[in-house]
């Protein structure tokens, strides 16, 4: 029996050894329920960020965390639509030289990093200009596996050389210097009108060198910043922040934030006028990719407080789509807002495939264009919109999306209107038959939704006589592998969504700029010298009617050449509990609104009394 006991003991030890180091997460979670003295706001996102290191803040998910844990020089105004920049860490607007090449940016005094063991004595020190310089340099140090360098590559004097010379942080970059403790100077090689927008991205958030060196790669799970919140725990299912008690006092001026009482008073944001954010003690973001569980958690009442309305629930909840209005029952409990996404979904043909793209034989190339135009004609945007977005999305021709000022609502809708007869005629007239039509390989990420997109696409192609076995799905189990197939130009049709990095059509027009061909973001490998010339001309121009005209000409080229099946901007509908004072918005950078959120006691309503629904 001794043996048994010893063996069992050994087994227990093995188990206990594994079970022992209980992380801090569960204990922090204790505060999520109950404890009334702590004001908690629970938000949710449909995906977890993979890294919280600013140099890897490549998507809205990462930015939701990075923008709240760190500071950026500029930021988007809380309430202004269309989006407008404002100084954040920067002390006012920069001085810009007349040739648009030199930017001098002053930063605020007395901003402190959060306390952290990385600092001497564990006490957060003051944030200075050199910290920004260091942080931007990190984007050019391959050791950090940065993802944002493309924004500044070939644009800031000496930065690319600095990288080529081995990314030594003690070496100075002529175009990126701290002139004194509070002044940054950026020298550009050519005008870059979107520079300030890039300084509002999580990519350019300010990281203290001590923390980057102390934590190394683990900075990705352990942010040390100067933002309104401090990350307490983080894993793939949730991030928990606590208020940064040392955050600078910056009373909210609603006028400056672009407040429009006529359309925004219902949110109750007037309550935060003159107060300094953040207003909650604890900010929790749950990451749940599954709509159903996010939704169920929301309607429970005591869990997450804001969610997007899943398309499947729209009919049940909405009284009207335009303007978005809740049914009275729900209006008593929730607030609703909607907005178009800053981005779009679209499919491009990869022009490098001779079966339907560029071809050495001019005759074949002409027939190929007819083939592409026929596919565009048979594509049913309306069905896509109805099936997946409850008809709430905005279908538009071309690649200039509705949220940017350059969008042209007058553009002909022929390229987004289904015309099966026209498509059949095009095929017939150009000698395409079921026998000689090429095989279309439709590359997608794993998952059931992309698969259903494919099935819908295939069924639509079958309507114009495309044989079923000639439309093939290729699903990649990981985004990495899908990305590789794109970047190595191995996919004939690329189906993707693009989120704007900044509200300027340049950000989508670059998707078809020749030199950006694979492995760049021009997955279509569209090469049109005239287009490239116009792009280069427009890229250094400040917003003006002339630039707008150039943008629109480029847009027309994409439509006329039948390069892409495009596009649709989804409408986001946000629903939140009425005791939450907020105007949620995940677009553009993502998560910049979180610091302004306030939460009233359970049962109270943020809505002004005269706007409460009757009954």
């Amino acid at each position: 029996m001794v043996v048994v006991r010893a063996a069992v003991l050994a087994l227990l030890l093995v188990l206990a050894g594994c079970a022992d180091p209980a992380g801090p997460a569960p204990r922090e979670a204790a505060d999520l329920d109950g404890n009334a003295s702590i004001k908690t706001f629970r938000y949710s996102l449909d995906q977890a960020p993979s890294s919280l290191d600013p140099v890897q803040a490549a998507n809205v998910y990462a930015n939701h965390v990075v923008l709240n844990a760190y500071d950026t020089l500029f930021a988007y105004k809380y309430l202004a639509r269309p989006y407008q920049l404002k100084p954040n860490l920067a002390d006012g607007w920069p001085e810009i030289s007349p040739d648009l090449l030199v930017y001098r940016i002053r930063i605020k005094h007395g901003v402190r990093f959060q306390d952290d063991p990385a600092f001497a004595g564990g006490k957060g020190r003051e944030l200075v200009a050199a910290d920004f310089v260091y942080s931007l340099k990190r984007q050019f140090d391959p050791k950090n596996r940065p993802q944002g360098a493309w924004l500044w590559q070939g644009r800031i004097a000496g930065l690319d050389d600095w990288k080529a010379a081995g990314s030594d942080y003690d070496r100075e970059v002529p175009g990126l210097r701290a002139l004194d403790r509070y002044t940054i100077e950026i020298r550009l090689l050519r005008p870059f009108p979107q520079l300030l927008d890039t300084l509002a991205l999580g990519f350019s958030a300010v990281v203290p060198r001590e923390a980057a060196e102390h934590y190394g790669r683990e900075l990705g799970t352990h942010p040390v910043g100067s933002g309104p919140f401090r990350v307490v725990s983080y894993d793939s299912s949730r991030v928990v922040f606590a208020r940064n008690t040392a955050f600078r006092q910056e009373p909210v001026d609603l006028q400056a934030e672009g407040y429009d009482p006529a359309t925004q008073r219902y949110t109750g944001v007037e309550r935060i006028q003159g107060r300094s954010p953040p207003f909650v003690d604890r900010l929790v973001i749950d990451f749940a990719s599954d709509d159903a569980s996010r939704w169920n958690s929301f309607i429970k009442g005591n869990e997450i407080q804001v969610t997007g309305v899943p398309a499947e629930k729209v009919d049940e909840f909405l009284e009207s789509y335009d303007p978005v209005q809740l049914k009275p029952d729900y209006a008593r409990r929730y607030q609703v807002a909607s907005g178009l996404e800053a981005g779009f979904v679209f499919e491009t043909f990869n022009m490098d495939f001779p079966e339907f793209g560029y071809n050495p034989d001019p005759e074949r190339e002409r027939r190929n264009k007819a083939l592409r135009c026929a596919i565009i004609k048979t594509f049913d945007w309306e069905a896509r919109n109805q099936s997946w977005y409850f008809g709430l999305g905005t279908v538009f021709p071309g690649i200039i999306v509705p949220v940017v000022p350059e969008f042209d609502p007058q553009l002909s809708r022929t390229s987004v209107t289904r015309d099966v007869a026209g498509a059949r005629r095009l095929l017939r007239e150009n000698g395409w038959t079921a026998e000689n039509l090429p095989v279309l390989v439709y590359g997608q990420s794993a998952g059931v939704k992309p698969r259903m997109f494919f099935e819908q696409f295939r069924a639509q192609l079958m309507d114009i006589g495309w044989p079923q076995e000639k439309v093939v799905l290729k699903q990649y189990a990981t985004f990495g592998d899908l990305g590789r197939a794109w970047k190595e130009s191995r996919l004939p049709i690329v189906s993707k969504g693009w989120g704007l990095d900044y509200p300027d059509a340049e950000n989508t027009l670059q998707l078809f700029y020749g030199p950006n061909g694979s492995p760049g973001s021009n997955d279509a490998n569209y090469r049109n010298p005239e287009y490239d010339r116009l792009y280069e001309k427009a890229a250094v121009m400040l917003p003006s009617p002339e630039r707008r005209a150039l943008y629109r000409r480029m847009n027309q080229m994409i439509i006329d050449d039948c390069v892409a099946i495009t596009g649709l901007s989804r409408k986001r509908i946000y629903l939140w509990h009425k005791n939450v004072v907020a105007l949620p918005d995940r677009e553009i950078v993502g998560g910049f609104f979180l610091r302004y959120v306030d939460v009233l006691p359970e049962g109270e309503s943020a809505r002004p009394a005269d706007l409460e629904p009757a009954g």
Partner: protein
């Protein structure tokens, strides 16, 4: 100290297994695994940046070097940082493994205890209606897909389409109530699915044991059924039962319950390992595979020692 010696010898004998598993899974999961390069690149990468990332990830080095590196990491139990988040692999495992254990232990224990209880009941009434009922139900249980069970339970227990009693997802161990709230539905699903298999397995074992000569003799001499069960049958059933339980443990510790964890949003090791596979997070994969194998070898050893403890006729040779 022959036990100790024996244990050491067995562990040594486990080395080829360890090498085999690591080589096999390294080749599959790491060498031919998903390419993480393009997940770590920005929106507009250059060929040079691609090469830099590949170099950072070590993809540009030959197979032998990379495998050797892995063996060194195994020996020192230091796998570095996750390629996705940068978190230390050791802290990732320390964070996720207890969660999986806490998630699965209740279901595992209940599933086995209930299985044994039902099996005893069925075996005791062998051939009569309780037996037929229990066996019929367990075949039905075995025929339902785990995935369907999870979905149906989730809809039924956690949403307004059903009882709406428990949270749909999440995890908490702050208090006992909190833990019970989160663990109940996954446990029910687990027990439901495992029960059919367990009952059948244990019934077969018990029935076989009851057919043995010494049991029949005891019965013929009028030994009381309860005493018979406890003294002879259960004790002799111990070996297959131990085998089943001990060999499930590595799978629980490391394999986690992938489906439960993903469906209920529980940050356990199964989810972490699966995410590592689909995102090609090699440091995490390497650690998971190494740990699994080590546990498997230990399980072999523990099972051996327990056999001997239960049945002295099994020699340590």
């Amino acid at each position: 100290m022959d036990i100790l010696q024996y244990a050491l010898r067995r562990l040594l004998a486990g080395l080829p297994l360890l090498l085999g598993v690591t080589l096999f899974s390294f080749t599959l999961m790491v060498y031919f695994g998903p390419d993480k390069t393009f997940e770590l690149l920005g929106k507009n990468p250059t060929a040079q940046e691609i090469a830099e990332v590949r170099h950072q990830l070590g993809y540009d080095r030959p197979f032998v070097l990379r495998y050797g590196e892995y063996l060194r990491e195994l020996a020192t139990v230091d796998f570095g940082n996750s390629d996705s988040t940068g978190e230390r692999v050791s802290s990732l495992l320390a964070r996720t493994i207890p969660v999986s254990l806490a998630l699965e232990l209740p279901g595992f224990v209940l599933g086995n205890l209930l299985g044994i209880a039902l099996a005893l009941l069925a075996a005791y009434h062998r051939g009569r209606w309780p037996d037929k009922l229990i066996m019929g139900l367990s075949v039905i249980g075995m025929s339902i897909s785990f995935l369907v069970v999870i979905f149906v339970f989730q809809i039924w227990f956690c949403t307004s389409h059903g009882l709406d009693l428990f949270p749909v997802r999440g995890w908490g161990t702050a208090s006992l109530a909190d833990y019970l709230r989160h663990v109940t539905v996954p446990t029910l699903a687990m027990v439901f699915v495992a029960l059919g298999y367990n009952t059948r397995f244990y019934r077969a074992v018990i029935v076989e044991e009851m057919g043995r000569d010494h049991v029949r003799t005891a019965r013929a001499f009028g030994a009381a059924p309860a005493r018979l069960f406890w003294r002879d049958i259960l004790k002799n059933c111990a070996i297959p039962v131990i085998t089943r339980i001990v060999f499930t443990i590595p799978a629980i510790v490391i394999g986690g319950a992938l489906l439960l964890e993903t469906s209920f949003g529980i940050p356990g090791v199964g989810k972490a390992a699966y995410e590592a596979i689909i995102s090609g997070d090699q440091p995490v994969l390497k650690a998971v595979v190494g740990l699994t194998t080590a546990l498997f070898v230990i399980a072999l050893l523990v099972a051996d020692i327990l056999y001997r403890a239960v049945d002295p006729r099994v020699s340590l040779e």
